[in-house]
């Protein structure tokens, strides 16, 4: 069940404070909509950071939290493949802010892009395609106007090049239903919360049997 009060509260607070939700807040909203999110913890001190890293086991990823809707990788806000306590402390101190630092396990999977935005003419538009930081370069993305059904979601996925990999090009096919499910849930999230103007879930990892959102950014 979606806890709409919790979602509305997060959005309301961000709007009142004239800022965007932090990635940690975005993840809470996604989880309320049962969208699978990669494991994470938020550390406010060196000790907390070490504890979280220990829980996941090395290597881990440390990410800056901010409320300005920045592309984190463009401001060197993402530290990948962190492998020791010393490194965790060093990166924690470089990235820390009033919001803390987000820590996740370092995982490998196929990078997908999932997004949504409000269009002045047609309302909520969903997008799907090849993920990663070169989204704009590859432009392997398809679009659909929400709401739409599972059949349309599959057509949308199949329009992209990455769908060939998902369907098992040189390796095991991935779980397409999990992506369809994510698209439908994200479209609900957008339709029910018109204050959110744009969402990027990039990357979203596709593993063999499941998917997980590894980065989330909302623009209000």
């Amino acid at each position: 069940m979606v806890n709409r009060d919790n979602v509305k509260e997060i959005i309301k607070r961000a709007l009142e404070e004239n800022r965007f939700p932090t990635e940690a807040e975005c993840r809470v909203v996604l989880k309320e909509y049962n969208i699978p999110v990669l494991d994470y913890g938020v550390a406010h001190s060196e000790n907390e950071a070490l504890e979280i890293a220990k829980k996941f086991g090395y290597p881990v990823v440390l990410k800056m939290l901010n409320a300005k809707g920045l592309h984190k990788s463009e401001v060197n806000g993402v530290r990948l493949d962190v492998r020791s306590d010393d490194e965790v402390i060093k990166h924690f101190n470089e990235l820390k802010s009033e919001w803390g630092v987000l820590i996740s396990p370092m995982v490998r999977g196929l990078e997908l892009f999932v997004g949504a935005f409000q269009d002045e003419q047609f309302g909520v538009v969903l997008s799907f395609g090849t993920g990663g930081k070169y989204v704009e370069v590859y432009k392997d993305v398809s679009f659909r106007i929400a709401p739409f059904d599972e059949r349309e979601a599959i057509k949308m996925i199949d329009e992209t090049k990455v769908s060939k990999i998902l369907r098992g090009y040189r390796e095991k096919p991935k779980n397409l239903n999990a992506i369809v499910d994510l698209l439908l849930k994200l479209s609900n999230l957008m339709l029910e919360n018109q204050e959110i103007k744009e969402i990027d879930l990039n990357p979203t990892f596709a593993f063999d049997d499941r998917i997980a959102v590894a980065d989330a950014r909302f623009i209000l």
Binding site: K68, F113, F122, E136, E198, R217
Partner: protein, 434 residues
């Protein structure tokens, strides 16, 4: 509006260089069966018709008023129309929203008056309407050939050129609507109307933008006829400081494209496709499936078509052995029986006919390429013209081609001038069939 029985032309003129003259003349010369009332305060008779000083002076009922007076007089004419109880108005006059603030104010005034009297407006700033099935050319140029395609266009020129081609090719159109500024009647109203119009089989729409995206999608989805849309893309817009990836890669055009895909609209990429797709969907039968056989007299022309077909998901099948055996009896020894079936330069109409008849059961559609001056092509195609779609390309046949093509097209059989255009027309049939 489109089936009006009596029409007033406000701003009718005796001067043949004025639009107010052209429109009145086109209504008369086009054979409009109802009453036509020219309105002009300074004339008594134009083109043999009694002239009225104003709309309110007309004794009989008027269904439609076409307004061609200068923009500053349009509001008072519209008031008259309201008082007279006229519910449909076409405003040809320009000088409204398209010229800026002042014009916008004037256009809003029109909308207020229209609302007060319950008047529907096409335009302003448009090229009028022409319903051939009502012999009603309230527009220019005068075109009377009745056809199956409704042309709705935000550009008068695109519509006029489209209509002109259809007439030249002996197809004609059902209705022509120049949208102009779309102050009231817009694409959504017209898709709904022509979706139900018994004389229209295909709705061809040129628009530069849609007013209400959701309403547009709803009406397109509900429409049971093919809707072909040409909409120029809008290039990269300015970037915001804070912007998501999703928005920066989604131009307006990608969103519109998604709307088309979700509603079954056939989107044309350019003017040529717009014309070809409309023609194909209006005059060719439904296509179920993607298996194609090509019958040609030119190998080169067939290869050009195959490229387009294969790229767009068609299966240009290998000729089944069973069919090959049958074909051997009706083709010359040197003919190539792999698909494309190449009858080579000494092909004649009889050979085409035999191949088409024998092949029909093996595929979903046949692409016929006449690549030489082949006499009797039209008669032959007419004999085979039933059931599955036969898409015809006639090219490189000079005099004979022109004659045969004209014959086929006057019988409602579309002929395309290049193999690629014929193949693309087949692709459009497939898109709609899905």
């Amino acid at each position: 509006m489109f089936y009006a029985k009596s029409i007033a032309v406000v701003g009718a003129s005796a001067d043949p260089t004025k639009l107010g003259h052209t429109i009145l003349k086109n209504l008369i010369d086009g054979g409009f069966k109802g009453d036509v009332y020219p309105i002009n305060p300074k004339a008594d008779e134009i083109l043999g018709k009694k002239v009225y000083r104003s709309l309110v002076e007309i004794e009989c009922e008027v269904d439609l008023a076409v307004i061609v007076v200068p923009s500053k007089f349009v509001p008072s004419v519209l008031e008259d129309a309201g008082k007279k109880g006229i519910k449909n108005v076409v405003i040809i006059t320009g000088g409204f929203r398209e010229i800026g603030k002042e014009g916008e104010k004037l256009e809003n005034k029109l909308l207020e008056i229209a609302k007060k009297y319950g008047i529907r407006i096409v335009g302003p700033n448009c090229q009028g309407i022409n319903n051939t099935h009502n012999n009603m050319c309230a527009s220019w140029p005068l075109i009377t050939k009745k056809g199956k395609i409704a042309i709705i266009s935000q550009s008068g020129t695109v519509a006029a050129a489209f209509a002109d081609w259809l007439e030249m090719e002996n197809f004609g159109f059902s209705c022509f609507v120049s949208l102009g500024n779309k102050s009231d009647v817009n694409e959504v109203d017209l898709i709904e109307f022509f979706g139900k119009d018994e004389n229209t089989k295909v709705i061809s729409l040129y628009i530069e933008g849609v007013k209400d995206g959701r309403a547009f999608m709803d009406v397109a989805k509900k429409c049971e006829k093919p809707v072909v849309v040409l909409k120029p893309g809008i290039t990269e817009r300015g970037k915001k400081a804070v912007e998501s990836h999703t928005k920066s890669i989604a131009g307006k055009d990608e969103v519109f494209e998604a709307a088309c895909k979700q509603t079954g609209i056939v989107r044309a990429r350019d003017f040529e496709e717009f014309y070809d797709f409309s023609k194909a969907l209006a005059y060719l039968p439904k296509l179920d499936g993607n298996k194609v056989l090509i019958v040609t007299s030119s190998g080169g022309a067939a290869i050009l078509a195959i490229d387009v077909l294969e790229k767009n998901g068609f299966d240009v099948i290998y000729t089944p052995e069973e069919l090959k055996e049958k074909l051997k009896g009706v083709t010359p020894d040197h003919a190539i029986l792999d698909n494309p079936i190449d009858l080579t330069g000494d092909a004649n109409a009889e050979m085409y006919k035999n191949v088409i008849e024998l092949s029909k059961d093996y595929v979903d559609a046949i692409l016929v390429i006449f690549g030489d001056p082949i006499e009797g092509a039209s008669k032959m195609i007419e004999q085979c013209w039933r059931g599955k779609p036969i898409v015809v390309c006639y090219t490189g046949g000079s005099e004979v081609e022109r004659r045969e093509k004209a014959k086929m097209q006057s019988n409602g059989i579309p002929v395309f001038p290049t193999p690629e255009r014929a193949a693309k027309a087949m692709v459009a049939l497939r898109w709609y069939g899905e």
